[in-house]
Amino acid sequence: SQQGEEDPQALSIQEGENATMNCSYKTSINNLQWYRQNSGRGLVHLILIRSNEREKHSGRLRVTLDTSKKSSSLLITASRAADTASYFCATDKDTGRRALTFGSGTRLQVQP
């Protein structure tokens, strides 16, 4: 079963604009990660935020985490056509279980 939901399901923007994707989850977590997937194949790890962190940056990526609301957001600034992909959040529960539980993803289209 899917732990979380991404919002929106699909997003289309122009190159240079910022893209914001949101993720909600259901249970207490240890960490939350964001992954990118091109063409329905392998996932690429983007960024990890621990449950005791509120914000994290990596290049053009900014992730926030609100554990009280069980939600996270991924901001991609100054988007590029190459950012076109599906983006998934994934959580591992605080039960110590290593398996990641993924949301259903946001399909981002960046128009050149």
Partner: protein, 115 residues
């Protein structure tokens, strides 16, 4: 190689047949995971190995699915009596043990089509 590799990249089989999917994790990664991804969905967890043993197989959908990792490196996911509903992309990931939190590194996947 530098990353996780999976073979074959595509597999087409007839309903009722047996298939094996292979995963080569990143060298030195002791944890290995199998996920399954249906079209338009996020990956769903199947099984997790720590070393040679299956530490968590709670995601396997039924007893037609089985996975092994006999030497703690390469893993094989085995599906017996395949059904059309088994069609999906099967993803393998690996991660380091002893460091947390655990980032998982994914392979390119095997696209299984059951006709």
């Amino acid at each position: 190689g530098a990353g996780v590799s999976q073979t074959p990249s595509n597999k087409v089989t007839e309903k009722g047949k047996y298939v094996e999917l292979r995963c080569d994790p990143i060298s030195g990664h002791t944890a290995l995971y199998w996920y399954r991804q249906s079209l338009g969905q996020g990956p769903e967890f199947l099984i997790y190995f720590q070393g040679t043993g299956a530490a968590d197989d709670s995601g396997l959908p039924n007893d037609r699915f089985f996975a092994v990792r006999p030497e703690g490196s390469v893993s094989t996911l085995k599906i017996q009596r395949t059904e059309r509903g088994d069609s999906a992309v099967y993803l393998c990931a690996s991660s380091l043990r002893g460091q947390g939190p655990y980032e998982q590194y994914f392979g390119p996947g095997t696209r299984l089509t059951v006709t």
